[in-house]
Symmetry: C2
Subunit: 263 residues, 2 copies
């Protein structure tokens, strides 16, 4: 009987950061067969998972020199300062920001971007395999390494320019931040009339699922879509908060306009 040993070379990763993106990335690489996190560099141990703490160090001075990829998962405005402190000039350094150009790392010839398009909540697990990962790199070989790394945790890997990624980030703000703000407005209206907001959960979920089958422009319903001015006016009377009244009017007018209806 023969035993065959295969030597697999795993991609070794260092995560710099201890926030939401850092800890979710760490979890995504856990038990992965193609990549492994060898170190997490984070000022705040508190926010790291128990497992991540085992490989954690608090200072960039103690950073390991022999990893393949260094992922800078810090907040957008901290990127330049932390990148400046990163002294391993021959190592591939990537950031995870949608809004930041790759050239924010311009002092590093081996630079790139590893941007997961998702909203992360502390402590709430996400299925990384369905998250879109947007990659960019200055050098072709680095891009190939990033692709290999991304494919290890996600089925949806995209190569895009800094400009496209920034536009995608704007789109994500409409799709996620702004829709969440609409949920918040809905909750305020519910509170004004002692209605439990949970009633709206199934509707919110169904609305989000609908656009997987139908483009949002076709999925649009409601009084503004129908040009039902009577209902729009009645609704404005019902909303007690003046800012919310104004938002209701403005978005309704934009919908009326989109579908060629008149006020």
């Amino acid at each position: 009987m023969h035993t065959l040993f295969v030597l697999l070379s795993m991609i070794s990763v260092v995560i710099i950061g201890s926030g939401n993106v850092a800890s979710h990335l760490f979890e995504a690489f856990k038990n992965n067969k193609e990549a492994t996190v060898v170190q997490v560099v984070g000022r705040s141990e508190v926010s790291l998972s128990e497992y991540a703490k085992q490989v954690a160090t608090a200072s960039l001075d103690n950073i390991t020199h022999n990893a393949d990829v260094y992922i800078l998962a810090v907040s957008d405005n901290a990127i330049p300062a932390v990148a400046k402190q990163f002294k391993l000039k021959d190592k591939l350094l990537v950031h995870t920001s949608g809004a930041t150009s790759m050239d924010a790392l311009k002092d590093h010839s081996k630079r790139g971007v590893f941007y997961p398009l998702q909203t992360f909540t502390k402590g709430k697990k996400v299925d990384f395999s369905s998250i879109a990962l947007c990659l960019e790199a200055q050098e072709q070989t680095d891009l190939e390494l990033l692709q290999q790394l991304a494919n290890a945790i996600s089925k949806k890997v995209y190569l895009m320019s800094s400009e496209q990624r920034k536009a995608l980030h704007v789109a994500a703000i409409f799709a996620s931040n702004f829709s969440n703000f609409m949920y918040a407005k809905a909750e305020e209206v519910c509170q004004e009339y002692q209605i439990p907001f949970e009633m709206l959960h199934p509707l919110i979920l169904e609305t989000a699922k609908k656009i997987e089958q139908l483009p949002p422009k076709e999925a649009q319903t409601g009084p503004a879509r129908r040009g039902d001015i009577t209902t729009l006016e009645a609704h404005k009377e019902l909303i007690k908060n003046n800012t919310n009244k104004e938002i209701y009017s403005l978005i309704s007018e934009a919908i009326l306009h989109t579908y060629g209806k008149k006020l």
Copy 2:
């Protein structure tokens, strides 16, 4: 051996209408043990399911006289006219509209409301058991019958006044119509930069699920939430469509204001 026969009295229902709400209600009552649809009155047979056609009639003149509940599932502005044509004055007539007061049926002493809070798409099945049903009735015995009927198809049955229901409808417009409009804006930004909109599907779904665990006001993220003016300005530059640029600014300002951030 004994055979025990139990006589169950099923609630018999007539659905007036052949649109989205009518056909989804019909499906919800199919194979139900406590209620049965004995007739569907609809001008348009085309839009009824194959099964519904078997009990369909095209005219209110042919309506059966011995049902327990008559559900008027027509568009809001058709309610007064169709209610006027409904001549069975001793029968319970309910409408299914969120935006319409119960008194739109004021010629009928036995009147009520049976409002399912959901967005219905033709041909797309929904799980009725998780849909909130909002009930109202002029007479107490009728309200009890409606509760029995609602409990037969949903686990979430609420009694509310016409005013509360109208407010809930406004909240639903923020939560569903307006969030969908934000998805449409996101798609437009994607199109401007040749980005596939499907990339945003997982993010949209996660955002919708998040508020089942966290109130939307706490779940809010993004540059406006952080008061990151530099990113907001850069984003406005990126958006090519002027209306979308304006919507981006207005909602961002509202978020900044909500969280005490300054422009």
